[in-house]
């Protein structure tokens, strides 16, 4: 005869709790362990000494520089673009919508190949630029172009969704008060969507910083010119492992900071009337 110390309901509840705990622990460990392993593979002394390695500092500064430029271009061009796109109906709008999302599903290596085919020295546009002595492929500009191509959808999608969700009565009221479209955009639309836009910008910066596939295809891997942090990790794996490890840890720290910033910004959305 089997004796159960727990009633049927309590027994079921306990099993459910254990099952849920195992599930949560498995997923958490699967995601966290590889990241934690990076930190266990080095020592503070080794990490700090590798930080001074010229390859690390060059990759770090190049990544930060190109990502900031990419982000600036995405914000300056993407914000008005997303606004105009949302507020107007035009032929082919659905196609443009799809194109905005395309880089999200396109393998980055394919994006890099596409950019190379278009802007490379013998590319569709590149051959004409070459006539004027302008070379884009395998330069720092190519790094920025690759980052913009791959990372801009994160900002554009966010901006589009924010502008679509904004209550139209704010802009309509501002119009009746005599405000020009530019004034409405800068004094009503942008402030009311600001925190969401910033969180989109932070995600875009993070994606640009981590860009690898399109960059190596279109910009190459030239130290100090096109070798960004993810590329330095790749090189480190083939040569100086500590350099690769240090850059990896740096990227983890930056990514983690970005996620915390996005979560913080998401909790302080401007409350609409």
């Amino acid at each position: 005869m089997t004796v159960s110390f727990l009633g049927p309901d309590r027994y079921r509840r306990t099993l459910t709790t254990i099952g849920a705990a195992v599930l949560v622990a498995s997923v958490t460990l699967y995601l966290a362990l590889p990241v934690v392993a990076l930190f266990f593979r080095t020592t503070p002394g080794l990490f700090i000494s590798s930080l001074c390695d010229p390859a690390v500092t060059a990759a770090l500064w190049l990544s930060l520089f190109t990502s900031v430029i990419s982000l600036g271009i995405v914000i300056l061009v993407g914000t008005p673009f997303a606004y105009v796109h949302c507020r107007n109906a035009y032929p082919g709008k659905m196609v443009v919508d799809t194109l905005i999302d395309l880089p999200l599903v396109l393998p980055p290596a394919v994006a890099g190949m596409a950019l190379l085919v278009l802007y490379g020295r013998v590319g569709l546009v590149g051959k004409y630029l070459d006539m004027f002595g302008i070379t884009l492929a395998f330069t720092t500009v190519a790094v920025i172009m690759a980052q913009i191509f791959v990372a801009s959808p994160f900002y554009l999608r966010q901006a589009k969704s924010l502008f679509e969700q904004l209550d139209p009565s704010y802009e309509q009221t501002a119009r009746t008060l005599g405000a020009s479209p530019f004034r409405i955009f800068t004094t009503i639309t942008i402030p009311l969507t600001a925190s969401g836009l910033v969180s989109g910008a932070v995600m875009t910066f993070g994606r640009a910083l981590g860009e690898f596939g399109a960059t190596i295809m279109f910009a190459g891997n030239l130290p100090g010119v096109t070798q960004t942090m993810p590329l330095a990790v790749y090189v480190g794996l083939q040569g100086n492992f500590n350099v690769g490890l240090t850059v990896s840890i740096l990227l983890v720290i930056i990514s983690f900071t970005i996620m915390i910033a996005v979560r913080f910004l998401a909790t302080r959305e401007v409350r609409h009337a």
Binding site: Q172, A174, R175, T176
Partner: protein
């Protein structure tokens, strides 16, 4: 004075309406949901364009289909308070009231003077520095009315301005509207579905049904038992 003949094909029926409103007159538009009341205000303000007709305000053509005239919203000088008041939540009360005047590039001193005047008339002076997003429903309505009036409009449009208000707030907002309309000597169109509102503040009433004016008269003569339209 406002004179308008409006025609617009709506989804289920055509809107055909002739409106006349005099200075210092509060004209109330009543009717069932979907009768076209808010559409009328949107057309007059310029947010919607009619299919045909004319809108003339103080002798100035704002819209005339025959002559191809259509003055843009920004240039109509019409104060419009939308149903949800739409105060700008990220701006303070005084910044909300000043918004239209800044947009019209008025002088800083003049803006400050006008803001103070209209905040005083609508009884929101004590809220000047409060962010509009933190106000109650009644306070928001008063801010929206002060903001619409501060541009010195030739016409005031109010869409269901008392819907979300309790009795006390409703009375205070009604008083503010009557005072301001009398102060500026402009016509005012109010959309409401409450007979009591029409009786308390209206000078004349239109009863709309499916885009057509079915009855026109004094607020005291409004058919009782809800809105039973005379045949």
């Amino acid at each position: 004075m406002l004179e308008a003949m409006l025609h617009k094909q709506l989804r289920d029926f055509p809107l055909d309406l002739k409106i006349q409103a005099h200075p210092n007159e509060i004209l109330v538009l009543m009717g069932e949901n979907g009768a076209g009341k808010s559409t009328v205000l949107n057309i007059l303000s310029g947010l919607l364009t009619p299919d045909a007709g004319s809108i003339r305000l103080n002798g100035r053509d704002l819209y005339k289909s025959a002559a191809g005239i259509c003055v843009p919203v920004e240039s109509r000088r019409i104060g419009y308070v939308l149903q949800n008041s739409a105060v700008f939540p990220h701006l303070s009360v005084s910044e909300n009231v000043a918004y239209g005047m800044k947009a019209r590039h008025m002088h800083k001193d003049q803006i400050a003077e006008q803001v103070d005047h209209w905040m005083g008339l609508t009884n929101i002076r004590n809220l000047a520095d409060v962010k509009a997003g933190k106000l109650s429903g009644g306070q928001k309505q008063r801010v929206a009315i002060a903001r619409a009036l501060a541009i010195g409009p030739d016409l005031l449009l109010l869409d269901e301005p008392f819907t979300a208000l309790d009795t006390e707030s409703r009375q205070s907002v009604q008083d503010a509207v009557c005072t301001c309309v009398s102060d500026l000597q402009i016509p005012c169109l109010v959309v409401t579905h409450r007979v009591a509102d029409a009786r308390e503040m209206g000078d004349r009433v239109y009863l709309l049904s499916r885009g057509v004016n079915r009855w026109e008269g004094l607020p005291s003569d409004i058919p009782t038992a809800g809105i039973q339209l005379p045949s």
